[in-house]
Amino acid sequence: MKRSIEVDLLSRVEGTGALTIRGQAGHVEEVTLRIMEPPRFFEALLQGRGWEEAPDITARICGLCPVAYQMSACHAMEALAGVEIPAAIAALRRLLYCGEWIASHCAHMFLLHLPDFLGYPDLIAMAREHGELARRGLRMKQIGNAMMRAIGGREVHPVNVRLGGFYRAPEREAVQAMVPDLEWGLQAAQETVEDFARLEYQDMERDYEFVSLREPERYPILGGRIVSSGGLDCAVYEFEDRFEERQVPYSTALHSVLRGRGHYLCGPLARINLNFDRLGPAALEVATRAGFTVPCTNPFRALLARAIEVVQAFDEAVALVRDYVPPEPAHVPMEPRQGRGCGATEAPRGLLYHRYDVAANGLIEEARIVPPTSQNQGSMEDDLRVLAPRLLEMDDEAARRQAEWAIRNHDPCISCATHFLDLRIERA
């Protein structure tokens, strides 16, 4: 008997997509994650634009992680120009980026993901019975946004970032005024890890190949080498030699694969698995207390990985703010030259790669942008393939809820990858 279950859209993700699972108990025929976000053609509209415009134009790819786009674009152009960024500017960038990690992670954890664990349709319903937790989450998110405002001018599409640094460095007093909120945030984030450690996590283990950046001494945010749990270790400019983007007929996002190896996973779970030894003392201590160890290959525990990263971000932010001296000058002057520049940074959702071919007059001839969600599409489908036999035995409502939850584990940003998910389970 042929059965088909349809949901018109998958909620609590950023953007528009659809999901189909076809088969019967014991036999999964097909799993496809379809991304239907209307294409916006950023790579094409960057052609003929000035190289200095790339950070502001690419920020508009994603309202949730504009800083990630700005930073990857800056890194690419700075690599092209052969410019070294002074430590004080790099520190201010890292502080801005910590703000985005906090705001984006808290939005995902509390507004999108946690309602699944606690059984609510959304944060507002959840707050009626878990008021303290909801308010704490919102306040942490608010602090992340305040950091972006203090440094970038606004939280969505900051205006103060430019190639080589910043238009104007914020005053020392304005930055240091954040200390009390950041100290509160650090403690709130630690409590959150402990609260999340007490949640019930369903069993699921996967054999992901994890991919992230790795910095020489710190937890990866801005730069480093690209490494994987399968032994990959390459420079950012080698990305396109090692990774390949493929188009599939049912999606407006391109799928990435590691050449010769297949699907892989980037994002918080990948970062923490590959860089556990780079966590600062506060994050390491709370992870240990919460019983979080690596390797961790249960995608549902990505919630916990994200929460530990929020501790890391607050902890770094406190130190960066205390040591903050406005960089002088606020940016390094740069001249365009003909050639190719590649840059990668760790967006909240994972590795974000940019490559630009620039003409001698500074106009962009070609651009390539690989966002984390398109890299994770294959692994998200694989997760559903692993879950499918379980899903096909559940009633429709439970199966839909479970499939959506599994997708949310990876915090897909479908706007980045190219709109929302509509879920269809067809039972043969």
Binding site: T16, P39, D122, A125, R135, L138, R154, Q247
Partner: protein, 253 residues
């Protein structure tokens, strides 16, 4: 009051401003019913809706049909952000050949459904209020919801970033440093952020009402090509900015 939030081609940043009202969000959730807000809730209630907040531009045949349905089901329809009010950065395609765009991004362009132009919501249906910005500002959004609760829509400021900048007491970047700045022709609303960091306004809020762009163009100290690109941004689809870009292209000649 039943509120719906809809998304078309966009970056999610404008609807995120609603979730970025951290202080107000839980109270808001008690005084209005978010009947359709897929980014924030899996609960969904059928229309009609008292207020529809619409983000994004119309770029596909499917979305062109969908916006008609949203209009039919909504008492107030408010378009938010540069994508919904001017077509967004993706309206740059309107100046170029879409097939070429498709081929630059996708290996198999035949799979992709897209319209030739990226259009603001008002080009498809009547819109009751537009909130400008890339992204929109938080306060006008809250003011819109407050007003809608009383059965009306707010009157919002329509003057320029330049006025806002003067009120802030920022030294003029154009007069003092010759930095090209769209402040005199750009709609108020951001708080005059760019001049406050020593940068020229790059037009996130689009052209203000009754604007004389040509009068500004003669004062911008930059090459025509750079000025053209300054207008061809997030509000490239707004008629006044599109015209300015065409004028500059002629100068370049």
């Amino acid at each position: 009051m039943k509120v719906a939030v809809w998304k078309f081609a966009s970056c999610d940043g404008c609807q995120l401003m609603l979730l970025d009202c951290e202080r107000e969000l839980l109270t808001l959730g008690e005084v209005v019913e978010f009947a359709h807000f897929p980014e924030a809730s899996s609960a969904r209630v059928e229309g009609p809706y008292d207020l529809s907040i619409v983000e994004g531009s119309i770029t596909t045949a499917h979305d062109a049909e969908q916006i008609q349905r949203v209009r039919r089901e909504s008492r107030f329809l408010v378009a938010i952000g540069a994508c919904a009010t001017a077509g967004g950065i993706q309206a740059l395609r309107n100046f170029r050949d879409v097939q070429g765009f498709l081929e630059a991004v996708y290996a198999e362009p035949a799979y992709i459904d897209t319209l030739a132009a990226s259009a603001p919501i008002s080009e498809h249906v009547s819109v009751d209020l537009e909130l400008r910005g890339c992204p929109i500002a938080r306060e006008p959004l809250l003011e819109t919801i407050r007003a809608a609760l009383r059965g009306c829509l707010p009157r919002l400021a329509t003057d320029s970033v330049c006025m806002e900048c003067k009120r802030r007491g920022t030294v003029c970047v154009m007069v003092a440093h010759g930095t090209p700045c769209l402040g005199p022709v750009t709609h108020v609303g951001c708080g005059a952020l760019c001049p406050s960091v020593g940068r020229g306004c790059y037009g996130c809020f689009g052209p203000k009402e009754t604007v004389n762009v040509a009068a500004l163009e003669g004062h911008l100290e930059a090459a025509p090509e750079a000025i053209r690109r300054l207008f061809l941004n997030f509000n490239a689809g707004a008629p006044a900015f599109a015209q300015a870009a065409r004028d500059e292209a002629k100068h370049r000649g």
